[in-house]
Amino acid sequence: MKKQWYRLDNAALIFPAIIRKNWNNVFRVSATLKEPVDPDVLDRAIEELKPRFPTCFVRLRTGFFWYYLETIAKAPKAQQDYAYPLTHMTRRELKTCCVRFLYYENRIAVEVFHSVTDGTGGLILLQNLTARYLALKYGTQIPAEGNIVDVTEAPKAEETRDCFLSCGAKRAISRAEDTAYRLSGTPETDMFRHIITGILPADKLIEKAHEQGVTVTAYLAAVLAEAVAEKQKAEGRTGRKARPVKITIPVNLRRTFGMKTMRNFTLAVNIGFDPRLGEYTHEEICALMGHLLAAETIPQRMAGRVAKNVDLQNVLLLRLIPLPIKRICMRTVYTLSGENKGCLNISNMGVVTVPEPMAPMVERFEFIIGVQYTYPNNCSVVTYGGKTYISMIRGIRETELERLFFARLVELGIPVEIESN
């Protein structure tokens, strides 16, 4: 089969340039089944899925001016899961395949390098892999509906294109904003990642969010911001010493612009409050986060932000700079301003649904984003089967932020069940 290659999409450009010896940008989606996973059947399912998702079965290659993705000849084999999620994906691994398929007991997990796709793309891949696995293992007939596609079909053109290039506004919006408070702690040895998952009843969470007149994402971002502010206060950073508390929320642009792609198509917005301006009540923080999120994510503003990123990519002079120099520049810019505009991410995948014949066989879905290079905590959310799974990952020893966040949810009347690795 002829090798195909793809330019990196606009959001993906930065990720290969900022890879460190012990860190890169990877996320994970997993599905827990009712019965143990058979690795041989999983391997067959991966092989069958490969032609349908060409942009996912790729490896990272280096060009003279840009990095690019090249399809791989052979589908990777599923491997046993590690002792913790999101173990470091080395450069050598990325040059072989940018996606990792893992299994452990009842769970199938997919870990994806962010240049390949975003969380939604990863989830679509996982859902299709799970559907294919169940079809092969139990002979279940799963209809091609929702995110499930017909694997015998050829991939659609819209799935492989870079949608950023077609939705930018005519005028770009500035990205200048205040530097946020930086979370810190004692780094864990050997890059170990701790994960604490809080399981909440989705209906209760929605009810509480609606009581405040905001979406679930805004509500959780508000509670998280409260926890971050509390932590900052506990560190003695009050008054003029305090820094703005901001939460980074990746927004799925597929819904905003009505496009379907398997490449990256999300844009992050930073919303929060400045503790130097005074004390805030829970209701005020919820209202503020709700309004800010709604205002920032209107299509016009999103298009303006996309335009800013795309404009930079289109500057001829920048394009003509050889990759090694471009890489140094991108790393420098990222180090100086890439991660200091928010305290941590909260990425909400929303409600995951599967076709009816599949539902009794799948117990839960999980979504975990890796920690950033400088900030040690991150949070991701997914809802399935009436339960919301909030995964908080950290690369440090201290559990203060997680304690403040989950204890606050309990205090607000939402029962939380905790799991950890």
């Binding site: 590690y82 809080g198 559990t399 204890a407 309990v410 950890s420």
Partner: protein
């Protein structure tokens, strides 16, 4: 089973709360052990054999070239005339570029002083070889100044998180002032006139440094600069 401190429900068989580490006081039912969510497989350690092999291969090539030069020089000139420079240069290049690659982490506060010490040794060799005496009054202090300035720069950009702009301003002033010192050493060693070129450097670096320092003291100017020069 709930944590008495946080109020969260814990996993069956949990010995402590993962959030606050409060021990679970209730006696566990026999056979109820904490469910392991992940396997015990650990990622492979980073394979550095490739880098180490390349370093030693290059080292072998350098040694071979140096030995070849030394033998050729000894046979044609009867002494290590020009080959001495080749040997010392190769040693310097090895210490500067290849030696740090043998270690897992690049620690600038250790490797940079070692690099500057090697540079000083190289200059000392040139000075002694040519029978001159500019090393102690000029090359040694100038290398020392360069080393100290580099270490300060690394400390500012790598280890200090707060008030970086203010420190950068002071650092630029310091760089400017060090040029005066260098010209002073040049003056006492080579007898060149004073204040020929260093004043330009002092003015340039000093003005920029003071501007940055003052900018941090005036919040509106600081904010304006951040907005204007935002990358």
């Amino acid at each position: 089973m709930y944590c008495v401190y946080c109020g969260v429900k814990l996993q069956e068989g949990a010995k402590e709360c993962p959030l606050c580490h409060t021990p679970v006081a209730i006696a566990q039912a026999p056979g109820s052990e904490e469910k392991t969510l992940y396997s015990d497989r650990l990622p492979d350690k980073e394979n550095r054999h490739g880098i180490t092999l390349v370093v030693w291969l290059l080292t072998t090539v350098i040694i071979a070239v140096c030995l070849g030069c030394l033998i050729f020089c000894l046979r044609t000139r009867g002494e290590a005339a020009w080959s001495g420079y080749v040997l010392m240069s190769a040693g310097l290049v090895w210490m500067l570029l290849l030696f740090p690659l043998l270690f897992r982490r690049y620690r600038p506060m250790i490797f940079l002083p070692v690099s500057f010490a090697c540079l000083a040794a190289f200059l000392l060799y040139i000075c002694v070889k040519n029978g001159e005496n500019w090393f102690l009054p000029f090359a040694f202090p100038v290398t020392g100044i360069a080393c100290v300035l580099t270490l300060i720069g690394v400390a500012i950009f790598r280890y200090i998180r707060q008030g970086r702009l203010r420190l950068l301003g002071l650092y630029l002033v310091l760089i400017g002032a060090s040029f005066m010192l260098i010209e002073f050493f040049q003056h006492i060693t080579f007898g060149t006139p004073m204040w020929v070129w260093s004043l330009y450097c002092v003015c340039g670096f000093g003005a920029l440094g003071l501007f940055l320092f003052i900018a941090t003291l005036i919040p509106p100017l600081h904010a304006h600069l951040r907005k204007t020069f935002f990358i």
